[in-house]
């Protein structure tokens, strides 16, 4: 009844569950079983389970791809504005997309389960596959919502590579998330732990996709979910280590730094800042709206820098030093400062590229300049000592002051750019309105 009342789910069900498809799936399934059982040997039954596994994987990726295209196809087809104007809540739209765009893959899974359980397919195996499917599909919907911002800026053809790539990334993330807790070969423990891990991961892509859906529907949002996500990832990686001897405050700091910086870089490259919107909000001092619009990369950069620096300071004053292989406190601060420098470089590049143009080329050039061209020129001209100002591999030897010159330069450039923008048309428009 709930599904029937969801406009999106009904639309997908009409499109995906055609009479031919409803008919052909069980027929093919039965034919495969008949072929497998024709010999009546256990070997054939094992072959059947392998076929079923392959079928489940196929269904999982089919569903994930459907979810991946669920929103971007609407933008490309010109129907997304109607969805945005509809009366559906963000949750209703989200789960309509999630379960609707994947409805045919679920139909396939249903017949796979029905036909394979009598032949000894373990329940825990099925449960894990279903959990993986749900997570992958939620990631697919998340990528689809995330790509909408870019869809408005580039042609659909250019999006094809990114969309296909996002499907692969979805799959890899699911597998990585599922396997991260498992280090031994005990198969029963692997299934159980993986199921727990997947269930822990499942709500996050859905929560983030919900946030993006709210933005699309022009509803108010806050970036709290991103803060919670950083905390969750840190806990997710640290908890299994908590009882071991190698775990320490320093190890927790390492994990937090790596998680926060990884998200900063990832989202910085993939999420285009709506700089005009943010500058408008700063200018009119609408702090509540600004807080609701803070992009992920900005927030995570702030979180990573603040959390890591404060914690590193606490550790260094408490006298804790590196007992196990890993980073020192100084190395972590150096990494954070290099990360902050790169984040500001991203902001500067995105502020310098027109809103309707893509920033991939400029970003690639900017980072090539810092990481390749300048160090190479320094090397060729005999100034090898200049390279650590750009980057340093040997972090234990790295000094905290090394990132500071480039950080200062990029900070200055960014402030100059912000000042120029604020001085231009924006201030003129506000003056015009104020005068009237």
């Amino acid at each position: 009844m709930m599904l029937q009342a969801n406009a999106e789910w009904r639309r997908y069900a009409r499109l995906e569950l055609t009479p031919f498809r409803l008919f052909i799936i069980p027929v093919v399934g039965v034919l495969v079983i008949l072929a497998a059982c024709s010999g009546g040997q256990p070997a054939e039954t094992r072959w059947l389970i392998r076929i079923t596994n392959t079928w489940f994987v196929f269904c999982a990726f089919w569903g994930m791809q459907g979810a991946n295209l669920s929103v971007v196809d609407e933008v490309a087809g010109g129907t997304w504005d109607q969805q945005r104007l509809s009366h559906q809540s963000a949750w209703k739209l989200l789960w309509g997309k999630w379960l609707g765009s994947t409805v045919f893959s679920w139909y396939g899974v249903f017949w796979g389960v029905v036909l394979s359980l009598p032949f000894g397919m373990p329940w825990r195996h099925v449960g894990l596959l279903l959990a993986l499917m749900l997570t992958g599909q939620a990631l697919g919907v998340l990528f689809s919502f995330a790509n909408v911002i870019r869809m408005r800026q580039v042609r659909r053809a250019k999006m094809a590579g990114l969309r296909q790539g996002s499907a692969v990334v979805s799959g890899l993330l699911v597998l990585a998330g599922a396997c991260i807790l498992n280090a031994d070969d005990n198969i029963s423990r692997v299934w159980g732990d993986t199921l727990v891990a997947v269930c822990l991961w499942l709500p996050w892509p859905a929560l983030i996709a919900h946030r993006l859906a709210r933005i699309e529907l022009q509803e108010r949002v806050t970036p709290v979910v991103w803060l919670a996500l950083v905390a969750f990832h840190t806990a997710f990686v640290c908890l299994p280590l908590a009882g071991t001897r190698s775990f320490s405050g320093l190890r927790l700091l390492e994990v937090l730094t790596i998680v926060a910086l990884a998200y900063t870089y990832l989202t910085g490259f993939f999420e285009r800042l709506d700089t005009l919107k943010l500058l408008n909000l700063i200018k009119i001092r609408n702090w509540q709206m600004l807080w609701s619009q803070v992009p992920v990369s900005w927030l995570l950069a702030i979180v990573s820098v603040a959390a890591c620096c404060v914690y590193a300071l606490v550790l260094s004053t408490g006298g804790e030093t590196r007992a196990e292989p890993g980073f020192s406190v100084q190395a972590i601060i150096t990494i954070v400062l290099f990360g902050l420098r790169d984040w500001l470089l991203l902001v500067f590049i995105q502020l310098s590229v027109a809103a309707h143009k893509e920033s991939y080329g400029a970003t690639a050039f900017g980072f090539s300049l810092v990481y390749v061209i300048v160090p190479l020129l320094a090397f060729l001209s005999g100034f090898e000592g200049f390279t650590p100002f750009c980057w340093s591999f040997n972090l234990d030897q790295a000094a905290v002051w090394q990132p500071l010159p480039t950080l200062a330069l990029v900070t200055g450039l960014t402030f100059w750019r912000v000042k120029k923008i604020l001085e231009s048309q924006l201030s003129v428009s506000i003056k015009t309105i104020t005068q009237e």
Partner: protein, 306 residues
């Protein structure tokens, strides 16, 4: 009639370009306003801001007193919007497309059926209901788009270039449909480049140029105060006629021509009878009164050329 939609000091900036510059106007209930202007004038941006699809940072848009930027979702419930590049779910039938949008718009199944009957009649879609949206012609798709925008019974209808690509018959049909909707009390904002077609149904013209509001005037409907160009044909008596017409209220930009007098009429068309009667009483030798066509185009060209 009170203003149903108020736009005040609306300004939209993009890096390097001001798309809308301090635009202010109000739309009365039961009017059709033609939004015209050259390419890149900001017509689509204005429409998207009004229907709360694009955020508003400077200025306000209020629909029946409710601020759109504060409650965009409330605006979504009250407005029907047809984008210039709107799409349909090509694999669904027209009936299923309408049902989907009705459900997404929060209508109950009973309400959907009731509204379907109304919009199918208004947009003359009955024979198209079983067809797949993907096989429809451009004109038929526009009618389906219009039906989708009307399904939830909005008070304001915003149509971005609905006549583009339509043949004359389909344009005629669209005009009839919009006139019927206006008579039913809908307020309509419609953009188009085909001024002659807009003239058939528009009650007001709103001209944008380079993001600025150049003019917002009432045009040729029967009962509204209109600006229309007329020629009063006379057989002699030029001097008497000229003096008499110059004193009449509603007569502006009076010019004597070999055929008679050319002037702008700025009053309800119904008052033209009184003008003719007054001419006869004043012994002006009237042999005919004719409307000079293309008045919207003239206004447009005059304003854009300034």
């Amino acid at each position: 009639m009170g203003s149903i939609l108020e736009v005040r000091h609306l300004t939209v900036d993009m890096p390097g370009k001001r798309v809308l510059d301090n635009v202010s106007f109000g739309l009365d209930r039961g009017t059709i306003t033609a939004l015209v202007g050259p390419n890149g004038a900001g017509k689509s941006t204005l429409m998207r801001c009004i229907v709360a699809l694009d955020p508003i940072w400077h200025g306000t848009v209020t629909l029946e007193g409710v601020n759109v930027s504060e409650t965009p979702r409330a605006m979504h419930r009250q407005v029907g919007y047809l984008a210039d590049d709107f799409g349909l779910y090509d694999e669904l039938s027209v009936a299923h497309c309408l049902e989907h949008v009705g459900l997404a718009r929060g209508l109950s199944p009973e309400a959907i059926q009731t509204r379907l009957q109304v919009v199918v009649r208004e947009t003359q879609l009955a024979e198209l209901l079983p067809h797949r949206a993907g096989v429809l012609s451009k004109g038929q798709r526009q009618r389906v788009g219009l039906a989708l925008a009307l399904l939830h019974d909005p008070i304001l209808l915003v149509l971005d270039e609905p006549a583009t690509g339509l043949d004359p018959e389909a344009r005629q049909l669209l005009g009839e449909c919009l006139n019927a909707l206006r008579q039913a009390g809908k307020t309509i904002l419609v953009s188009s480049h085909i001024l002659a077609e807009l003239e058939q149904y528009a009650t007001h013209m709103l001209l944008l140029d380079a993001g600025r509001l150049k003019t917002f005037v009432p045009v040729g409907s029967q009962n509204a105060v209109v600006r229309c160009r007329l020629i009063l044909r006379v057989s002699g008596g030029q001097e008497t006629g000229g003096r008499f017409l110059a004193t009449q209220p509603g007569v502006q930009e009076l010019k004597a021509t070999p055929e008679g007098f050319l002037f702008d009429w700025l009053a309800p068309e119904t008052e033209l009878t009184a003008l003719l009667e007054a001419c006869l009483v004043a012994k002006v030798p009237v042999i005919g009164l004719e409307r000079v066509q293309e008045r919207m185009e003239q206004v447009y060209l005059q304003q854009v050329a300034r």
